[in-house]
């Protein structure tokens, strides 16, 4: 029957898409859409506003089509080990001994405190990011694009799937006709107008860079005593944990800037969150996202910026 045949064909396509993803290729639907966009006479697609369209034209570029990359990963559980292994699991840890010089036990009133880096979590986020960026890069390269502007980044847990994360990037591929063919087209989370200002200001975008710092704070008895205090006191263990997560988020981003041989990152969005986890512990998460840029010209703007006073 026709219905069964259609069903079988759809299942077959799905299997082929999964196999393609596992080989590091694009799923069938994406591959077909890109191939169709490349055909002569097909219209380009974009989510650029009219202002952005004219701005990228002013910078010497034109749109080629929407491109996307997506990946869903499960993040391995890492919690629960901290009280057993102390700071030895995960990244560099900090230890806060019992200030009263009593024992180590996790169940007693006196215990050590630990701050430790959630390396599994960080690696999970970056793994999803790598896969999504590899896919959008492949789409853009196949279209003959030199870059993608206005990349929107979607990072969220998948509904009903514990410890999982979806990472999706979507933007408009652009090209300069007659320009060089690039193995790795640039990615930028800046919109078309900002892209044009960047080019006229002497910078060129290189890549989307992400820094993740995740630190778990398992409070020791000294910290818990301070939390019950009637005085205004600085809580050293929590301060240290939050500061190290924030600094990690910044340092990792700067390492990515170096890895893509860029000079710096602009427009960095800072996303900071703290979650309560079991037994009074906190998971601190700092995610930074920016566009890495290289400076190609030192000379100033073509015109000095003109101050204006609006009469309306």
């Amino acid at each position: 029957m026709a219905g069964d045949a259609d069903h079988a064909a759809a299942a077959q396509r799905q299997q082929e898409s999964i196999a393609a993803l596992e080989r590091g290729e694009l799923p069938l639907a994406a591959r077909e859409r890109i191939d169709e966009l490349r055909q002569a006479g097909s219209a380009w697609t974009s989510d650029l506003s009219v202002a952005e369209l004219s701005a990228i034209g002013h910078a010497g570029f034109q749109p080629l089509g929407m491109v996307m990359g997506s990946s869903v990963v499960r993040i391995a559980a890492q919690w629960g080990y901290s009280t057993i292994f102390g700071g030895s699991v995960g990244g560099p840890g900090q230890t806060y001994p019992c200030p009263h010089n009593f024992g180590y036990g996790s169940q007693t009133e006196h215990r050590y405190g630990y701050n430790w880096e959630h390396t599994f979590y960080e690696a999970g986020v970056l793994g999803a990011r790598d896969a999504a960026l590899a896919r959008i890069t492949e789409e853009a390269r196949d279209l003959g694009a030199q870059g993608v502007v206005g990349v929107r980044l979607i990072r969220r847990p998948m509904e009903g799937l514990g410890n999982s994360l979806e990472f999706t990037v979507i933007g408009t591929a652009i090209a300069r006709s007659g320009g060089p063919r690039l193995e790795r087209p640039f990615m930028s989370h800046l919109d078309g107008v900002a892209f044009s200002k960047l080019i006229h200001g002497g910078y060129v975008p290189v890549a989307l860079v992400v820094g993740v710092g995740a630190v778990e704070i398992d409070p020791g008895c000294g910290t818990e005593w301070a939390l019950r205090s009637w005085n205004n006191v600085r809580i050293d263990q929590i301060s240290d944990g939050i500061e190290s997560a924030r600094l990690l988020g910044i340092r990792r981003l700067e390492e990515e800037v170096a890895a893509v041989d860029a000079d710096g990152a602009v427009g960095v969005d800072v996303d900071f969150a703290s979650h309560d986890v079991a037994n009074g512990s906190m998971l601190i998460e700092m995610v930074t996202v920016g566009t890495a840029v290289r400076r190609y010209a030192k000379d100033p703007l073509d015109e000095e910026p003109m101050p204006i006073m609006r009469l309306r």
Binding site: G202, G290, R294, I308, M309, R310
Partner: protein
Amino acid sequence: MAAAAPHPRADAALQCLATGHGARHEGRRFSSDLSVDEAVLLKEVGYEPRGLVVGCGVYHIGVQYQNWSNNEEMTSLTQVMYAARADAIRRMESHAQQIGGHGVIGLKLEVRIHGAEHLAEFVALGTAVASTSPPGRSPWLSDLSGQDLYLLIRAGYTPIGLAFGACVYHIAHQGLSTWVGQAAQNVELSNYTAALYEARELAMTRMQEEARGTGAQGIVAMRVEQQSHLWGSHVIEFLAIGTTVRLTAPGHQRIDPRMVLPLNDAPAGAADAPAGQG
């Protein structure tokens, strides 16, 4: 594809992307929360970004006994709110020095409350910038944007630092008999007015004292923030904060702005917006 119209900047940019060669930065590879507009304008006044810098501290904010019917400053809370911010800024400043910054712009000073545990996190976050000509003095801090810094420098001023003053104040509850006696009239609640005055003046005076002795000639973009954080409605913190500046040019440099009259409809509420909202 037919070759596009000549565009030297676009071609140079793509050349740099393909080969990695160009007028590259010599300093450290930076991160920054500057917008493109800010990054471009900073370059025009001889600064380049060095990196995002951060300092923070988490405090347990204890309880201070307050007399229900008195207007009074809660001095121990004032002290901790001031000292915690100063400490976060100090940490951020030392981060900026480590990475060779000569100044910090776009400084954001936030208090994040974790209510249940009476925990308050004080964060200072900004972008460290370095002068492309050798700097003459100690690093400066400012909560101004890159656009404001550009205008400030073109007008002949230089930023010196951040000045701020805090005051946490308890506003008295009114007695029942007073409330009953006044319920049918419009009256000024003079104890509230007086309390708000007292607290705001204390915060502003402290800010002025901080600016004195730094060589500042003025404070720009000053504001007074009013927040109850985790204390409920009768305890309010006033924070007066601004960037101190000094004239380094022989006099105020005129920038002669061009008057423009946009032909599109004015955005709602834009025309002659009241101060602080425009």
